[in-house]
């Protein structure tokens, strides 16, 4: 029995086991602290849906062998650009959201193409180079946001130069997905549209991975040598995966923003990639292997932890922002764990 337990824990991985247990314990604690558990659960679902696509963006990169896509901010920037264009065009509601997607996807494909070219030239160091591509593009776009010729009052500062730090979506497509077919059961509000969209994206990626191209990407990630011997163009597979990942990053931030109600410009996207990486790792993925179930579990657990831990921690520990510190430790701890497991050691 204990042998079986041990092997189960080993299969899930110790940190994952700890985190899932922690989430359950925190939920139980929340119940005993007389916090509104259904409400917390509702929020957990919302957070899952709004972050889900960003986490999903990790899947193609991992499977194609480029590793954890720390360059996600690149896709995020593309998404924000598309989102702002949609606002500039005065689009509102679901149309506004769709136009935002239409605008951002081509931008993301172009950006992803060049990013993919770069990653094909730096094989072996994709993660480090990707991180700094993300950092560089975010800091470059800080200048961009200051000088871009957007006209809309919702985007520009009313006085002074440049674009606002946060751009409210209230008049545009705030919560268009969240509110779609939303219903409440046992006090738990389910953001149907948001989850539906997230699951559809998951299904899309799932099906894509079972196409001929998807199969080629998976083979490339598993073994470059095997793929070459099977007539697969390794660089092309990696390229397609990178473009897909970047495009998903762009869509991901749009979903995030419509749920959050704001676009955050300037340095806000800088560290967003790390949270997405941590989530998928928590779900059970590694630097070489990822499944859709890892995305679903990971984003639910990670976001749940951040969300539920906050009120619980505040009750137990009134001072300071313990849950934020916990987030930092868990987020980077799990990435560090994955890196040491991925090895490279002799």
């Amino acid at each position: 029995m204990s042998e079986k337990l041990k092997s189960t824990i080993k299969n899930i991985g110790i940190p994952r086991f700890v985190i899932v247990t922690m989430l359950i314990v925190i939920y139980i604690a929340a119940y005993f602290l007389k916090l509104n558990v259904p409400r917390l659960l509702s929020d957990n679902l919302v957070r899952m849906g709004m972050n889900g696509v960003l986490v999903l963006a990790m899947v193609p990169g991992i499977l194609s062998g480029t590793g954890l896509n720390f360059g996600l901010p690149l896709g995020i920037i593309c998404g924000i650009l598309g989102g702002l264009l949609s606002i500039e065009l005065q689009m509102t509601g679901i149309v506004g959201f769709l136009v935002a997607m239409m605008c951002s996807i081509p931008i993301a494909i172009i950006a992803g193409y060049f990013y993919g070219k770069l990653l094909n030239r730096v094989k072996g160091s994709e993660m480090m180079v990707g991180t700094y591509v993300g950092f560089s593009i975010v800091s470059l776009m800080c200048i961009g946001w200051l000088v871009m010729p957007f006209k809309s009052d919702a985007i520009r500062w009313p006085i002074g130069e440049g674009l606002r730090t946060t751009i409210a979506l209230t008049d545009f497509y705030d919560k268009v997905l969240n509110d779609f077919l939303q219903f409440t059961i046992f006090g738990v509000t389910v953001p149907t549209g948001l989850l539906l969209f997230f699951f559809m994206m998951c299904l899309f990626v799932f099906l894509f991975l079972r196409t001929k191209t998807g199969m080629a990407i998976r083979a490339t990630g598993s073994s470059n040598k095997f793929s070459k011997a099977s007539g697969i163009d390794v660089d092309k597979s990696r390229m397609i995966a990178t473009v897909l990942s970047t495009a998903l990053g762009a869509i991901g931030i749009l979903v995030y923003a419509q749920s959050y109600g704001f676009f955050q410009l300037y340095t806000a996207p800088l560290m967003m990639g790390f949270a997405a990486v941590a989530a998928i790792l928590l779900g059970g993925a590694s630097a070489h292997n990822a499944k859709i179930t890892h995305v679903l579990l990971g984003v639910f657990v990670f976001q749940g932890l951040l969300l539920v831990a906050l009120p619980v921690a505040n009750v137990i520990f009134p001072q300071g922002n313990l849950s934020e510190v916990m987030r930092v430790i868990v987020q980077y701890g799990i990435i560090l764990y994955a890196l040491t497991k991925a090895g490279g050691g002799q």
Partner: protein, 531 residues
């Protein structure tokens, strides 16, 4: 009779079930050059690993037998211990740091140090390097070898021939060195460089150092050694004075083995000799460690062609080049039409299939199931096992599964089911998956490299039987590359022997051992009495 330096007594070693050395004994006299001769897998490297106390020996349960140095029983527990005992090794691949000077390389981790104020307090780590002394020591060693390179030049950019001398200089600079092992030192050298090297070896022995010389070039053995020790299949075959033997005898001793015949009934099948399916002209392949340096070879439709030779001679490169996995050049005609080299997809589409010698690296997706492994190449190359929905394709999982089930039955792959990950399969079953994947491509020519390496006897027979079956009943032409001569001679119609990247000759399975041995060691002028 000189003084005995090294004495090995009854050395045996097994890795798990597999006995690689069986009761081997031999002696080396002071100042003598002894040659160690044997095919790949004969046990030479294991013997040397034991002599150097390599961790691989001790982590696999050690060995039995005794080693005496100058009459004293020694326990060589680690490479460091071996070094202390005065046993040195000249590596086949150069252990040189390009950015360092010749002297710094010779003195690597044996730097001459001198005290300074800090080191007196903080210890050895802070002692300063004595560049002058290092240079002069290096000079002495280089002079001893009569090499004219300057000790302060950087190794980077020196010709390959010199690198070997730097390695040797490093060994003889070690003050206590008594025994040096040269592992195939002439393999990468030109003829004149090899001559210089042998001259240097002679100089070294004059100062009383003994040398164990591992080589496959039989004429070098004859010309420069005093004693030959021959190993075959882990056992000692002969200890001979070089003056008492000749090339032909050595070749015979090295190869000799019984032929296990599988296709006993049909000796020398009648083959349509003009129906050439694949022809190579001036064919070269840049596969590191297995260079093919220009070969003319024809493959007949319907035959099983064997490609044999020693490791590192280029036999492995031939199939890899045909499949586009390593850069190749020259003219290759397939069914009379030019085959575009360096494009794997072209080779696959033209119905060539390959079972790689690198089973785990090239042959399998270790983290995918058997079903995916068998079908993935056909999916990519021939669009098989796919359902189409307009632009969108989907894997036809039902067909893939049932097809895999069929293959599992056909090859008797022992597994829990078609979705079992190939990482968890045994070597033999993995090989069967590779074979299944290759024949799923329905090839005209099947290229198989080292099909039985690392798999057990039962699986070996099954794999070889399967090859014969494919050849006889499915009319596949098979090119089989193998280090196991016995295996080649048992199922092939012809065996091409590759030596130093060139075709040494084509032999019949029932040609004599001596012929095989001589050809493998690169002798093309085979003495008459053997022919």
């Amino acid at each position: 009779m000189g003084e005995i330096l090294l004495q090995l007594k009854g050395i045996s070693k097994h890795y798990g079930e597999n006995k690689v050395l069986n009761n081997v004994s031999f002696e080396v006299e002071k100042g003598q050059i002894v040659s160690l001769l044997g095919e790949n897998g004969a046990g030479k490297s294991t013997l040397m690993n034991i002599l150097f106390g390599m961790p691989v020996i001790h982590s696999t349960g050690g060995f039995s037998g005794e080693i005496y140095l100058e009459g004293e029983l020694v326990d060589i527990s680690s490479p460091v211990k071996a070094m202390e005992l005065g046993i040195g090794m000249v590596h086949q691949e150069f252990m040189l740091i390009p950015g360092y000077s010749v002297a710094e390389n010779i003195k690597l981790n044996r730097e001459v140090l001198k005290d300074n104020l800090v080191s007196k307090v903080l210890g050895k780590d802070f002692k300063t390097l004595d560049a002058k002394k290092m240079n002069s020591d290096a000079r002495v060693a280089l002079d001893k070898l009569e090499v004219g390179i300057e000790e302060y030049t950087k190794v980077e950019g020196l010709p390959v021939g010199y690198m070997q001398f730097i390695e040797i200089a490093r060994e003889i600079d070690k003050k206590n060195v008594r025994l040096l092992v040269f592992d195939e030192p002439t393999a990468v050298l030109t003829e004149s460089e090899a001559e210089n090297l042998i001259k240097a070896m002679r100089i070294i022995t004059q100062s009383g150092i003994s040398i164990i010389f591992i080589t496959h070039r039989l004429d070098e053995v004859i010309s420069c050694t005093e004693q030959v020790t021959i190993l075959r299949d882990g056992a000692l075959v002969a200890n001979k004075k070089t003056s008492d033997t000749n090339i032909v005898e050595l070749a015979e001793l090295m190869v000799g083995r019984k032929i296990e015949s599988l296709k006993n009934s049909e000796e020398n099948r009648a083959m349509e000799m003009n129906d050439i399916i694949l022809s190579m002209k001036n064919y070269k392949v840049g596969m590191p460690g297995e260079l093919v340096k220009g070969i003319d070879l024809n493959v007949h439709r319907g035959e099983i062609l064997g490609i044999g030779g020693l490791a590192g001679q280029g036999k492995i490169g031939i199939a890899n080049g045909i499949m586009g996995l390593y850069p190749a050049s020259g003219e290759v005609l397939f069914n009379g039409e030019t085959l575009n080299l360096n494009k794997p997809i072209e080779s696959l589409k033209r119905k060539l299939a390959f079972v790689s010698e690198d089973r785990k690296g090239v042959g399998l997706l270790l983290d995918e199931g058997i079903d995916i492994n068998i079908t993935v190449t056909s999916i990519q190359v021939n669009n098989r096992f796919l359902k189409r929905y307009g632009f969108f394709t989907q894997l036809d999982l039902g067909t893939i599964r049932s097809y895999a089930d069929g293959m599992i039955k056909m090859f008797d792959i022992r597994c829990t089911g078609p979705d079992q990950k190939t990482r968890r399969l045994s070597g033999g079953n993995q090989q069967k998956v590779c074979l299944a994947r290759a024949i799923t491509l329905e090839p005209e020519i099947l290229l198989v490299s080292e099909p039985t390496r690392g798999i057990d006897i039962g699986a070996k027979k099954l794999v070889l039987d399967a090859l014969i079956d494919l050849n006889r009943n499915k009319n596949m032409t098979i090119i089989m590359t193998s280090s196991e001569l016995g295996e080649l001679r048992s199922i092939c119609d012809r065996v091409a022997i590759i030596s130093e990247g060139k075709l040494a000759g084509i032999l019949k399975p029932n040609d004599s051992d001596a012929k095989y041995g001589l050809m493998m060691s690169g002798k093309t002028d085979i003495p008459k009495e053997v022919m």
